[in-house]
Amino acid sequence: MKDQLARLNARLDAIGKRLDEKELRIPVDLVTGVLFALFALVIFQVMPDQVVVSEKDVVNGRAFPTLLMALMLLCCVMLIGKELYKLATRQPLAWKTINLLVEVKALIILLILAGTYFLSRLTGLFVVGGVFCCLGFLLYFRCRKPSYYVITVALAVGIWAAFRFVLGVNF
C-alpha cells in the first residue's frame, strides 16, 4: 500500500513538473480591452430584450446601463489604443504569464467546489457536501496525517450543526 502511494506520488510529481514547465504568455491589457469591449457590445445588443421601458419615461431603465457600457467601451478603446501605440512604437507590451500547472490545480479545486455544491444540492444535506469538501481538499493537499482527516470532518459537521441548530438554517 505504502509502495503504491509512493509510486502514485512520484507520478503526480512528474506530471506536475511537466505542467510547471508549460507557460502561456498573453498581452493582458490588449486581451482585457478586447474582451470587455465585446462584453459591452453584447450588453448593448441584449439591452432591448432585457430591459423593458415605457415610452412615457423621460429617463428610462436603459439610461444608466447604457451610460455604464459606453464608459466601459471608452475605457476599452483607451486600453487597446495604448497597447497598439506601444506595439507601433516597439515598446514592450504588458504581458501576463499563465502557468499550466497553476490552472490545472485551480481546475481541480473548482471541481471540488462544484462537487460540494452538487452533492449538497442533490442530497439536500449540506453536511454530505461538507464532508466531501474536507476529503477532497485533504486529498488535494496529499495529506497523510489521519488526525487532520478526523479534525476537518469533525469541524465540518460542527459548522453544519451550528448553522442548523443554533442559527436555524434549514439545510
Binding site: 431603465g61 444608466f64 457600457m69 475605457c75 493537499f141 495529506c143 459548522i159
Partner: protein, 500 residues
C-alpha cells in the same frame, strides 16, 4: 450630541452587545493573524450571521472583526516575518527584527498599545466629526449625491489597482451587476434572462463570497506546497518595555493616529497607505533613525497606530454620505441598510441613539481588543501555524453555508460559485475586485440619484453642473483623477529609472 449619549449608552451596554463585540474581536484577531486570510474575507464570511441580528449587536460584531483585524495582522508580521494582512507590512519591518532580538512579547505589546490608541483616537474623531459632516451631507440634493457617488467610485477605481482604466472597467462591471433585478424606479425587470430568482437582484453578500472568498480558495493553486504552512516561534520573553521606550512611543503614536484619521476619511485610501505614510514620517522625525528597519519601537508604534486610526475615520464618509472609506466598511453598509439605517443626516437625527451607540461601541471594541490582546496573545500566536489543509475546506464550508443561509436557497450557492470563477478570470486579467464591490454597494444609490436628477431637470444633464456643491465635487473628481494619473506616471518613470 449629549442628548444622545445617555440613551445610546443604555442601548450599548448590554450583555448581548458585549458578547458579540468579544466574539468579533476574537474572530478578527484570529483571521488577521493567519497569513492569506484577510479582514475583508472574514467580514464577508460572517456577514450572513448578522442578518438575524438587530443593528447594534450586528454592527458591534462586524466592527469587532474590523478593528481587531488591524491588530491581528501584526501578530504574524512580528512572529514569522509574514504580514497577516497587507497593512501590517510596515509593522513587519521593525516588528520581526525586534522579535529576533528575543523581544517578541515586547513587540506584540507595543503593536497592541499603539493599535488601541489609534483605534480609540479614531473612534473619538468619528464621534465628533461624523455629525458635522452629516449636516453638510443634508444640504446635498440628488444631483450632488450622484456626483459624490462618482467621486467615490473614481477615486477607488483609481487607487485600487495598477491601472486606473482597469479600475474603471471593474467599477462599471460592479455597477452593471447591481442593475440586475427589478428597476428601482419602475419595478420592471432588467437583465434577468428569464430566471425568476434574479428578479430580486443579486444579494451583495453572495456576490462577495464568490468575489473575495472563493477566489482565495482557487488562489491556493498559485501557492507552492512549501509556502502553505508556517511555523511560529514560541514567545519566551517577559515583554518588558522600558520607561525610556514608553517616552519614545508617545510622539509617533499621536502623529500617526492623526495621519491615520486623515487618510481614512478619503475614500479609496486605506490602512496600508496610512501605515506606510506614518512609518516614513516617524522615521524622518525620529532621533533614532538608524534603528528603523532593525527593531525600532517607534516604527512598530507608528505603523500600528496609523492602521488602526483608519478604522473609525473610514466610517465618517460611510455613515454621513453612504460612501465607504474602504472595501471592508462597504460590506458593513449592507448590514446597516438591512436594519433600515440609511446613511445621511437623518441617521443622526431620527436614529441618533442607535448611531451614537455604534460610535461609542467603537471605543468599547478597542478596549476589548486591548484586553483580549493582553491575555490571548499566546493563543493568537499559535493560530498562525494552523495548517492550510485544515483551514481551506473549513473556509469553503463557511462560504457555502453563508451563501445558503442568506435566502436558504442552493441557487445562491451556485451564484457565489459563478462569482468565484468570474473573480478568478478577473484576477488573470489583472482587474482589481474592490471597484466591483464598490459598484455593487453604490449601484442602486448612484442610479437612483442619476435618474431622479435627470427627471427633475427634464432630461437635461446641466443639472449635474448647476450647484456649488456639484462644481466642488466636479473639481474634486478632476483633481483626484489628475493626482492619480500623475502618481502613476511618476511611479512608471521611477521604475524605468531603476531598470536602467
Amino acid at each position: 450630541m449629549l442628548q444622545h449619549i445617555v440613551p445610546a449608552s443604555g442601548l450599548l451596554f448590554t450583555l448581548e452587545n458585549i458578547l458579540w463585540i468579544n466574539i468579533g474581536v476574537f474572530i478578527g484577531s484570529v483571521f488577521a493573524a493567519i497569513p492569506g486570510l484577510s479582514v475583508i474575507l472574514c467580514v464577508i464570511l460572517f456577514l450572513p450571521v448578522t442578518y438575524s441580528m438587530t443593528a447594534i449587536p450586528g454592527m458591534m460584531f462586524l466592527l469587532g472583526i474590523y478593528c481587531a483585524g488591524g491588530y491581528g495582522g501584526s501578530v504574524s508580521a512580528i512572529l514569522i516575518n509574514t504580514p497577516g494582512t497587507p497593512h501590517a507590512a510596515a509593522t513587519m519591518l521593525d516588528g520581526h527584527p525586534l522579535s529576533e532580538q528575543g523581544r517578541t512579547k515586547a513587540a506584540l505589546k507595543i503593536a497592541l498599545y499603539a493599535s488601541t490608541f489609534g483605534g480609540i483616537f479614531s473612534a473619538l474623531m468619528l464621534l465628533f466629526l461624523g455629525p458635522q459632516v452629516a449636516k453638510v451631507a443634508a444640504q446635498l440634493g440628488t444631483a450632488e449625491y450622484f456626483m459624490v457617488c462618482v467621486f467615490g467610485l473614481t477615486i477607488i477605481a483609481g487607487v485600487s489597482g495598477k491601472s486606473m482604466i482597469k479600475g474603471l472597467i471593474s467599477a462599471c462591471l460592479g455597477l452593471l451587476i447591481s442593475c440586475v433585478g427589478s428597476d428601482p424606479m419602475t419595478s420592471y425587470d432588467r437583465f434577468t434572462f428569464g430566471i425568476p430568482r434574479l428578479y430580486l437582484g443579486l444579494d451583495l453578500a453572495i456576490c462577495l463570497i464568490g468575489l473575495f472568498a472563493l477566489v482565495e480558495i482557487l488562489a491556493k493553486a498559485e501557492k507552492k506546497p512549501g509556502s502553505l504552512n508556517l511555523d511560529a516561534r514560541k514567545i519566551k520573553d517577559d515583554g518588558v518595555i522600558t520607561k525610556d521606550e514608553y517616552k519614545r512611543l508617545v510622539r509617533p503614536t499621536i502623529i500617526s493616529s492623526i495621519i491615520g484619521v486623515m487618510v481614512g476619511i478619503i475614500p479609496g485610501t486605506g490602512a496600508s497607505e496610512a501605515s506606510w505614510f506614518s512609518y516614513n514620517t516617524a522615521k524622518n522625525m525620529s532621533k533614532h533613525r538608524e534603528e528603523f528597519g532593525h527593531g525600532s519601537v517607534e516604527g512598530i508604534a507608528a505603523a500600528e497606530s496609523a492602521n488602526n486610526a483608519v478604522t473609525g475615520a473610514t466610517l465618517i464618509p460611510l455613515l454621513t454620505l453612504g460612501i465607504p472609506g474602504d472595501g471592508t466598511v462597504a460590506i458593513m453598509l449592507s448590514a446597516l441598510m438591512i436594519n433600515g439605517l440609511n446613511p445621511g443626516l437623518s441617521l443622526f437625527t431620527t436614529q441618533g441613539d442607535i448611531m451614537y451607540a455604534i460610535m461609542l461601541g467603537l471605543i468599547l471594541v478597542n478596549l476589548f481588543m486591548l484586553l483580549q490582546g493582553k491575555f490571548l496573545t499566546s493563543l493568537f500566536a499559535k493560530v498562525v501555524s494552523i495548517p492550510q489543509e485544515i483551514l481551506t475546506p473549513i473556509i469553503v464550508i463557511f462560504c457555502f453555508a453563508g451563501a445558503f443561509s442568506v435566502n436558504e436557497n442552493y441557487f445562491d450557492v451556485g451564484v457565489a460559485l459563478i462569482f468565484g470563477i468570474l473573480a478568478w478570470v478577473l484576477r488573470k486579467l489583472e482587474l482589481p475586485p474592490v471597484p466591483i464591490l464598490l459598484g455593487l454597494v453604490l449601484g442602486s444609490m448612484t442610479e437612483t440619484n442619476f435618474r431622479r436628477a435627470l427627471l427633475i431637470s427634464n432630461g437635461s444633464p446641466g443639472i449635474f453642473f448647476s450647484s456649488a456643491y456639484c462644481i466642488i465635487f466636479l473639481i474634486l473628481i478632476i483633481a483626484a483623477v489628475g493626482t492619480i494619473v500623475r502618481g502613476k506616471v511618476l511611479e512608471r518613470r521611477a521604475a524605468a529609472k531603476k531598470e536602467d
